[in-house]
Amino acid sequence: MNCNRVKDSLHSYLAGEIEGLEKLLIEEHLKKCNVCKEELDQIKTMKILLKGCRENVLASQSFAIKIMANIDLERYHISQKKAVYNLKNIGVSLVCAGIMLFMLSSNLQVFMDSPKAMSFIDKSVIQISGRIMELDGITGRIENKLYGGLKDEL
């Protein structure tokens, strides 16, 4: 193993991240090469020096409580997500059923030519699409609330 390769591995070696044959080769090299041994010693020195500078800071006792008060606990409520999904589905199904019932109960062939009948159909369609929009609005708002992320105040 050459010096450059050993030098590149020294931080990892000291972190215990190198194993097996590579580790053996590095250790063999370090026994023979003073330059690399010097490098390793410097990293070790730095570790001792800097470790002594690290400050331990404790979070306040109420920190976790504060975090819990500031996160959206509903964010990952799968059961409610399903409920919203079902509500949306039921809504769409009801609208579909309405259209089908309307189509079955009216004899479209007869009414088609009459302008009065056409305006009635138009009105119904508008009404139905209005209801779909309304449903989307409700579920959209619920979903926004569920997945809307951050509360403002920290």
Partner: protein, 197 residues
């Protein structure tokens, strides 16, 4: 009760048991606070950044995959917040890091490596303050590598995962950081005898 693994807790949170997030906060709050404090040296900033990070982590929990350990993933978010903080801070305050890097290399070349050995290290309180200031004044890329490697005991591989930067780059940053610090320490030793190495 057997202690749940981080990953098990996350799975439960994602199934709706969101109250369990408190357990993750309790597990990591002190470690994270220490890292942030050693990064900022400011208690208020530490508290604010800590809060910001834990809320961000919660809001992104569904994006966590088990590829990396939770602690690596948490640190990825935390370190990015610290780096952002450093950049914002540097924009609003005058950086104390005004040293010419070339000058430092020159100093290094003229100083014998034998003066820097692990034996007979005596680190007095006032030396610690000077050293801490040296780390604070490092350019951000070195400072981050130093804090993660020397303070938090992450390996170069883990640091590369946290920063999403090739391991080779981390290795060279760690070398460069070590050499900058070494030259400053030795320089100080010759200048005022602050360290007994």
């Amino acid at each position: 009760m057997e202690k749940l693994k981080d990953e098990e807790i996350i799975a439960l949170i994602l199934k709706g048991k969101t109250q369990l997030y408190a357990e993750l906060v309790l597990r990591y709050q002190n470690k994270l606070f220490s890292t942030i404090y050693n990064y900022t040296h400011d208690f208020e900033e530490t508290r604010d950044l800590g809060q910001e990070i834990f809320i961000k982590v919660y809001n992104n929990l569904h994006k966590y995959n088990n590829k990396a350990s939770f602690s690596t993933w948490l640190y990825r978010i935390a370190v990015n917040s610290c780096i952002d903080w450093t950049r914002k801070k540097r924009l609003t305050t005058v950086s104390t890091f005004e040293t010419d890097e070339n000058e430092e290399i020159a100093i290094l070349e003229h100083i014998s490596d034998s003066t820097f050995s692990p034996e007979d290290i005596l680190l007095k309180e006032e030396h610690k303050t000077v050293l801490k200031e040296m780390i604070m004044d490092l350019p951000e890329i070195y400072k981050t590598a130093v804090i993660l490697y020397y303070y938090e005991d992450f390996s170069p591989r883990e640091i590369s995962d946290i920063l999403n930067i090739p391991k080779k780059t981390i290795d060279s940053r760690l070398y460069r950081a070590k050499d900058i610090l070494k030259s400053k320490i030795i320089n100080m030793e010759y200048g005022g005898g602050a360290f007994e190495l």
